[in-house]
Amino acid sequence: MFKKVLIANRGEIALRVARACRELGMQAVAVYSTVDRESAVVRYADEAVHIGPGPAKRSYLNIAAIVEAALQTGADAVHPGYGFLSEDPDFAEVCQKSGLVFVGPPAEVIAALGDKTAARTMMAQAGLPMLPGSLEALPSAEEAQRFADKIGYPVIIKAAAGGGGRGMRVVTDPGRFVRSYQETRAGAQALFGDPRVYVERYLEHARHVEVQILADQLGNVVHLGTRDCTVQRRHQKLVEETPAPGLPAHVLDEMGRAAVRGAQAAGYVGAGTFEFLVDADHNFYFMEVNCRVQVEHPVTEAVTGIDIVQEQFRIAAGQPLAMRQQDVAIRGAAIECRVNVEDPGRQFVPTPGLLEEFEPPGGPFVRVDTHGYPGYRVPAAYDPLLAKVVVWGPTREAALDRMDRALAEFRVRGPGVCTTVDFLRAVVRHPQFRSAGHSTAIVDRILADRAGDRPAD
């Protein structure tokens, strides 16, 4: 294993990775921006290096500063967490060239899977089910329109360099296609510096289901089951659970096997996630691959007993997977709620500030991953995720009751600070969610209901 690991991230995931380091007997080096000086991982890690000012561009996205910090502290590996540089092939490459083990897939794999059209082609060849759509970018509006007319509307136009729900447009009316096509290209150029777009059939009310996989450097690949991430607001996941509810076992198995095939085809190494869309008839279609540990990885850990971050390190160290597919047993159900410092009553505006009171839930089958602590000042500079509440239950119903109990225990108070706890309780109590009959529309429905209840303010 490694002697010293630099954690190129912040917040709860940096702490999560530092805990894995402790458990594996490795030293942990934190890096922090000026506004994160008081952060939990800084006081937790064995060493901490100040890499830049608040803006991520100059700190957590500053490759030179981070690699320099790793070299200065004598780290032999770098864990990128999620977001920031976690899926940046350049960062992975610079680490490798600097003699640092990057805990993630090889740079070329990240690059290949990061190009959505290239990834779609690769996965189509591997036999994964695809939505009707173009495998290549469509450089001309005419060609694109012809293609859209062929596969039928509604269609969605996506940026080849996109992902995570950014830079997409849905077209229902063929007459508006060309305009949307041009808008999407312009947006893609602005967002990703790459105008290429492709077109595929758009599924309404689909479920977002993903498969967690682990792949070692010897070509062994296993999947750890599915996660349903359908509860989203503006493509931001709010609640995740495993196993994906309301789907027949054979469908879940097929999805798992498809993900394993895809990982083998891509020469994948490390922990990764294959995202699928599932329609009302339980047909599933490949969407994209996430080359990192996911925010929602704890639910999979809860039902499998496998520590995904520890496995990332073992894989990066060249160890073969300790488990075969038949060793992976799923017990019960697990749910994660993302607690953000946001005000659901005001379009989820972020509400950073001082946490005068902070008491996360506890007790049986409850896990909390958070960088919060009493007296912590949540900075405004970064994403509003404050804590992940994860519960396990022998059944989905038991887990939902437990989540409601746990969320009710969460005490967070500070001047101007709001959290999404109450909103999340409304979600897990919602009959449509409890019956697993929900789609991506559920969040807007609940918000509408609540707007109805609330006196206008």
Binding site: G52, P53, Q72
Partner: protein, 181 residues
């Protein structure tokens, strides 16, 4: 956590002062009274709005303009007292007129170099005058040579890092005093 404006008064009748200066005793008493006052403040769980302390001819009187007390955050419950968080309350200290030293900080994590290349003379030495924008050093990060510039004119009073030393972002490299020359 600012708990309001501080108003410190030290009253001494001139002749006492003279007396004090003569036997040098009163000055000591004054110090002791001041220390006792600060000590007392640091021990109080809750800052008073009035503190009067008298020892013989020497007396200290402090009054705080009362601001609504915010609920103390747990962090602030770590034995911090107004005196501890506001050393400037010390009524015996005259307000500084001298401008504080200014620092030139590291623009990034990296290795600090004082000279453009090995063997070359340093960009600046202690005592040198620098102008705003003048290069005073280099921080190397991943083979990138990032120049360090003075952000204001002044006289270099100290070089705070060794040539070739590793620095973090924001670490002080040079101390600069405004030039009165």
């Amino acid at each position: 956590m600012n708990r309001g404006v501080v108003d410190g008064v030290v009253e001494e009748r001139a002749d006492d002062v003279v007396a004090g200066l003569v036997d040098g005793h009163l000055g000591g008493v004054l110090d002791q009274v001041r220390h006792t006052a600060m000590h007392l403040l640091s021990e109080l769980g809750q800052p008073p709005h009035v503190l009067r302390l008298r020892a013989g001819e020497v007396s200290v009187e402090l009054e705080w303009e009362v601001a609504p007390v915010p609920a103390a955050p747990p962090a602030a419950a770590t034995g911090q007292s107004p005196a501890a968080v506001r050393p400037s309350d010390d009524p015996a200290t005259p307000p500084r007129d001298a401008a504080p030293a200014h620092y030139i900080d590291a623009p990034t994590v990296g290795v600090f170099y004082r000279a453009p290349e090995p063997g070359a003379p340093p960009f600046v030495n202690p005592g040198d005058l620098v102008s705003a924008g003048q290069q005073v050093g280099i921080v190397e990060a991943m083979k990138l040579m990032i120049p360090v510039h003075a952000d204001r004119p002044g006289r270099v009073t100290a070089v705070l890092k060794e040539n070739g030393e590793s620095v973090e972002y924001g670490e002080h490299l040079f101390a600069i005093a405004p030039d009165e020359g």
